[in-house]
Symmetry: C2
Subunit: 99 residues, 2 copies
């Protein structure tokens, strides 16, 4: 199973808007085939720092996320709200293990 | 809901042993009251870098984890296997939202 931590840095004036459009992305993404996690986290010390934790059963399913209408809508909506480019860090999800 | 990313850096010769004792910690931790996540992730580029993603319904439940026998056993087992001190980064888990 594969997972990515996406670190997103949002300008202060767009934090609430970012949370709202990312909630919509979350609600669609958790319904994608093979999705295991699509958790949205906000740093406890810096409210402009977010982590999107995205896990899928396969690499193909993770890649398919970037072709979905909800991802593309999110990507375009947040593009100008970031204070610097976001970073995705790939990981293997060891546990919980697949059945 | 509260979440912590624990970044752990393991010496190469202890990676397999670390995975095994962390699996045992995972299996107990997911049964704790209020536990939502206890995911074990391994960096795709550096097999000695791990993230433990731990989420609980309340701060009190997250704090209680550090008093459990399985946490203390894990902490002591891995202490000498780390190449540098581990780091815990606190976050708010925004979505999925609590029911």
């Amino acid at each position: 199973m594969t997972a990515t931590f996406v670190h997103v840095y949002v300008k202060p004036e767009f934090i609430q808007a970012f949370i709202e459009v990312t909630r919509v992305n979350h609600e669609h993404s958790v319904k994608e085939p093979g999705n295991l996690r699509f958790d949205i986290l906000q740093d406890a010390k810096d409210p402009g720092k977010f982590v999107l934790y995205e896990a899928y059963e396969t690499e193909e399913q993770a890649a398919a996320h970037k072709g979905t209408a909800h991802y593309l809508k999110w990507r375009d909506a947040v593009a100008s709200w970031m204070s610097k480019p976001r970073e995705g860090l790939k990981h293997a999800l060891l546990y919980p293990a697949s059945n």
